[in-house]
Amino acid sequence: MPLAVENIEKSYLRGHFRKVPFDVLKGVSLEIQEGETVGLMGDSGSGKSTLARILAGLDRPTSGRILYEGSDIHRMKRSEFRSYRRSVQMVFQDPASALNPMKTISRSLEDVARLAGVGSDGIEEAIREMLAVGGLDPEVLRRYPDQISGGQIQRIALARVLFHRPSYLILDEPTSALDVSVQAQILQLLRTIQKETGMGCLFISHDEAVVRFISDRVVRLADGEISSDEPPGI
């Protein structure tokens, strides 16, 4: 089942004293197929992060529909929306704030497992599984996020959202704050995971080379509108 947005518009009121409406997205339509990686490019201010947040259900569009399994997610029943939430996951840019700094890694993973309904006896197994997906040493478990590297954090963030077995994954500049050698590790990990799970991905980046490497299709966003949508080879 594809994930699609139809004619999405989003405007904010800007300014503290005189509120001026500001259009971030001006009618964007996009469809992501299962198993497909769509690269989304654009400068800051082009609306790419806003689009990602709308897809993840974090923001509501001013108008337009988000369709998943044929129904509009903002017209869903609470329980349906909750299951949508789990099917579409998101990974964020800044590794420094990707995990709660007040929790140990083990605690962060445990909370997700519990949320997914894993009982106390299954927790350890669940955490081991998540570590295996991220290719991480169990030694990181007792650390706090500021005691491990940015690359390790992004692996944990990735492994954690995969625990919900989402059908779609949105990645908002997941490697922009990382060094190239670490970026290569994460991109390779993402490729492997995607091959195994057949997820659809929306990969946001401002780096042409990265997007070309990872995507099946490249969509460019400029001033809140899609300016091109083509295979990465060109």
Binding site: R53, V88, Q89, D94, S97, L99, P101, A157, V161
Partner: protein, 267 residues
Amino acid sequence: MNRAGLIGFAILSIFFLMAVAPWIFAPYDPYIRFTPYAEPGTDHILGTNDMGHDILSELIYSARASLFVGFVAAILATLLGVIIGIIAGYYRGWIEDLLMGVTDIFLMIPKIPMIIIIAAFLGSGIWVLILVFGAFSWTAIARIARSKVLQIRESGFVLSARCLGFSNRFIMAREIAPNLTHIVFPKFMLLAASAMITEASISFIGLGDPSMKSWGVMLSFAFTKGGLLNGMWWWYIPPGIAISVCVMAIALIGYSREKGADIGVRG
């Protein structure tokens, strides 16, 4: 914690012990009457007051009221402030506008005159002081909590928690609130300090709780019953010093936890 903070902690612990078990420290029951106006000597290290009460014992027994007012009022104000700040910062929109408008309005109400007038009408009592102080002191905490929440709510771990499907309550209580401790704790300590000074001030003008002994009440009697005019320094200096030292201990702990503004030599 730095050295100053540790010293503060040690001093505060002693005061707490005095508050919990004053009989360990005090030489007499503070209500026994000896010869009034006795000068400091071997029997009464700090002399006696106009009622003949041993001043040192009174001083030690007074720790309880002062600390109780300080910390209970601070806890009340902090809880209120943190809850309002988190809700305003997390939900944003009209809830934020409303709550922050209320905060701004409360911020401008002069606290001590307010407490004076309410205590004058309602009669003096420790709970009047605590409730009124709490009701008018949460504003600063609400402001800093909200501005911190505004930052945190956009950070990856909170957005991820929303995507992962955690409830808003879980996110506010378990993801956001713990991250506020290091900015709220110093303010909490300073609030406790400020509540203790307020108690001492209010008691000084005769609006203290007559059923409890406190340093402010002691000072008030020393001032009105001629302690100052007769040069009986042992009557009015010790309670004042006790307030200052205790408040300073609390403040030192607070400042030592304030990020960036830490006192003392580092790096």
